[in-house]
Every structure is written in structure tokens, then in C-alpha cells.
């Protein structure tokens, strides 16, 4: 039987929940998962989807929002399994961590159907970027989640963009209302990215090989460009 080398340990998917190498690694892993919980795994957002899934202005919009709701429920369930394995406490779909200061603003944004649409465009864009950063993770469960994860998150983002495009093309909602929601979600996503960057700087998940570093400016710029392209007809 071959011995395990340092290179093997750093390889993608090298560690499982029972074989994490150190307390420092486990601390970094916990910090990463709690940071991912809201943008990647949509923790704490299920009820808003259930409440507003049929508040959109057309049958097509209800269908799209229902599909994202289902995806989101799968995300929360998957995170529950990841978190349980990593011994992170979850209560009723909420996780303590870096998002407590922003949870009120997230709930406020998602308190309308239009807010859910912008949440897909912006917040899920951050989640999409973050799960892609685990493509070479040495933590097996995250490495495996990073295979289907980006497609699932990208599906949520594109659904948001498609929904926004229909709102604009068919003038389904007042322009001022749409622009207000856009401003609110822009500011929120910028603050969320600041938290992600701060968390990354104060924990060791990059040096431990659990995730690659985020380029927050690029993530925000890309999300804004995508939204701007959908709003172009109103400029």
C-alpha cells in the first residue's frame, strides 16, 4: 500500500468529514461553510419564496419562481447535510455567523416578488462565484458539491435575469419600483461581498486548500453588467 504524501493531501477531495487534518483546518472549514450559507446555500430564504412565489405579474413568472424555489429548497437541504457533518449548528434553516448584521436587509429585499428576482440576479451571483471557488477544494464534500453547484446557482441567476428581462420588455412593473429594488440589491450585494472578503482574510480556508480566493470586484461588476443589460431598454 502506497504511503500518503503531502501532494496527495493537497489534492482535490483529499479529505472527508472524518479525516480532516487538524483543528485549524476544521475551524477554517466551519468559517467557510457559514460564510457560504446565505449566498451559496440560500439558508434563511425559504419562507420568502413560499410567500411570494405567485406574486409575480404573469403565469410565466410564477413558473420560473417556483422552479427557483425548488432549487433553493434542495440547496438548503444539501447545506443541512454539509453543516451537520461539519458540526455546525442550524436552527430552522438559520445559521449563526457573519450574516446576522445583514439578515434584516436580506429579509427586507426578499419581502416582495421583485426583491426575489433581484436576489437571484445579485445574491445568487455571489453564491455562484463562491461555489466555483471550491472546484479544486481538498475537502471532499465541497469538491463534489462544486460539480453540480455552479450549474444550479447559474440556473437561479439566469432565471432572475430572464424574469427581469420580461418585466422590462412587457413593462410589467413601474420603472421606479424596479430601479429602487435594483439599488437596494446592489448595495446589499456590495456589503455581502465585503463580508465575504473580510471572512476570507480572517480565516485560513484559502491557505488550507478548501477554496480559492474570491475576486469580489469582478463578481460585483459581472452581476451589475448582467442586470444592466436587462435594463438597457429603459435607459
Amino acid at each position: 500500500m502506497a504511503s500518503t504524501t503531502r501532494d496527495d493531501q493537497d489534492a482535490a477531495g483529499a479529505y472527508e468529514r472524518e479525516t480532516t487534518p487538524s483543528d485549524a483546518y476544521r475551524t477554517a472549514l466551519t468559517a467557510l461553510l457559514t460564510t457560504q450559507s446565505v449566498p451559496v446555500w440560500n439558508v434563511g430564504q425559504r419562507d420568502m419564496y413560499g410567500e411570494h412565489v405567485m406574486d409575480g405579474p404573469s403565469l410565466d413568472q410564477w413558473v420560473r419562481t417556483a422552479n427557483v424555489w425548488a432549487e433553493l429548497e434542495r440547496n438548503v437541504w444539501q447545506f443541512t447535510n454539509l453543516a451537520t457533518a461539519a458540526r455546525i449548528d442550524m436552527t430552522d434553516g438559520h445559521v449563526d455567523g457573519p450574516w446576522s448584521d445583514l439578515s434584516g436587509r436580506i429579509a427586507d429585499l426578499q419581502s416582495s416578488w421583485l426583491g426575489l428576482v433581484f436576489s437571484m440576479c445579485y445574491l445568487d451571483s455571489i453564491g455562484h462565484a463562491m461555489i466555483r471557488l471550491c472546484a479544486q477544494s481538498n475537502y471532499g464534500p465541497l469538491f463534489r458539491a462544486s460539480r453540480p453547484g455552479p450549474n444550479a446557482k447559474w440556473g437561479m441567476v439566469t432565471t432572475g435575469l430572464l424574469s427581469l428581462g420580461e418585466v422590462v420588455a412587457l413593462e410589467q412593473l413601474p420603472r421606479a419600483e424596479v430601479r429602487d429594488a435594483q439599488s437596494q440589491s446592489q448595495a446589499l450585494s456590495a456589503d455581502m461581498l465585503r463580508i465575504v472578503v473580510a471572512q476570507e482574510a480572517s480565516h485560513r480556508w484559502v491557505s488550507e486548500g478548501i477554496a480559492a480566493p474570491i475576486d469580489a470586484e469582478a463578481v460585483l461588476a459581472a452581476a451589475e453588467a448582467r442586470v444592466a443589460s436587462r435594463l438597457e431598454a429603459w435607459s
Partner: protein, 252 residues
Amino acid sequence: MTTLVTDVREKPERIYAPLQFEARDEMPEEYRRMVLRLLRETNEIGSVKVCYDQMREMTKNVALAPDPVSRVRIVEFFADEMRHQKIFDGVVRAMGEVPGEDFVSSIDGLNATSSVREWVDLALLNHFIDRVGAFQLLDYELSSFAPLSRAGVAVAKDEFGHCAMGFQHLIELCRTDEGRAAVETRLPTWYGYALDMFGTRSGTRQWKYIEFGLKTKSNEQLRQEYLVHIAPFFDRLGIEQPDPASVPRKYA
């Protein structure tokens, strides 16, 4: 225990070929009316207020899920049903019709979806009612109305998935004495709804559907196939299959 019931008459010869008409084609007026009636009876015409209200009511069922996995399944079920609402609404509109507020089903089993208040009812609905839907939709496979053929097969696949989910939930419920008692108490009502959904044995409209090639099987033929198909599920639950005459029926 079920008693085999046969049809009251011979089936008529079909006059239109499978997939003969598309939504925008010219078609005989009576044929068009019959197609619209079939679509109306799906109760999946999303732009109609009754259908909207029923779907809205269904969102509350998510809170009934007893565990996280069941919750995921129920939301996926909801998303499927919402997509069906778009599919059949789209077929009606492709025919140049704008469904009015009275474009709603007369089928009690479908309208009973709004009466779900407990998890056991939802499990029974998925197991019995969605299975009837799947049987009826699969009978459109060779329909002379092509959109119904295409939509029927695709949606039936989803409905069989919902049946599997409902059966899984029934198995889980039957693991406790309390759950099994609830299943046994509520089962006759939902089974009765399901058996009635096929329509009456003597109804005259069914023969016209077959003559037009919209359907291939009579009400009683489909009901008998359903009774045979569902028998093993009762065995697996350890519940005796009720005689169709012994459960609450509107069209006994």
C-alpha cells in the same frame, strides 16, 4: 377485493388519425368544443382564478412536511404543477381561446386539492389522484389532437413521479400506529374521489371522445386498469383494497 365491470357498449370507430390536428388548424366545431372541454377538465389552466387560488393554497402544504426531505419533494411537486398550469394554459391559448373564469374542472377529486389540511391527505392525494391524472394523460398518447398527445405523455411522467412520492409518504406514515390509523381513516374518501375521476360507466361523452380519436379508452376500461395497477400498492401498505362500491362515491 374488486369486481370486474365491463363497458355498457362497443367502442365506436375513430374517425380522426393520431396527431391529426395542431392547435391552430381548422377543425370541426364539435371537435374543437370537445378538445376545450378536455383541457378545461385538467384544472391546470394557470391564468384562471380558480386554478390560481388552488395553486396558492397548495403553497401552504409545504408547512405540513414532517421532515426536510419531504419538504424538498413537496416544493418540487408544486413547481411541477405550476409548470403544468403553463403547459395546458398555453395549449388553450394556442387554439386562439382566452380561458374565462368559468374554464374550470367539474371533477371533485381535482377540486378537493384545496381541502388538504393534513400531511396524510396530501400523501393520499398524490398516491390516488395524481395516479388517475397519469392514467388519463397517458391515454392521450395517440390523441388526434397533437398538443394533447405531446403534453399528455410529458405531464403523465411527472404525475407518476408524484404518485411515487405519495406512496413513499404513505409508507412512512404507516410506520406508526397513529399514522396508519390516519391513513386507514382518510383513505376511503380519497380512493372514492379517484375512482369517480374516470367518469361514469354510462356517460355518453366518452364515446364521442373515442370516436374523435381524442381518447382511446372508455371510462370503465381506464378505471378497471387503475384498479388492477393499484392493487399491489395496497398489499405493500398492508391495507386491504376496498371494494369500489364500499367507499364514498358520487358516481357509484
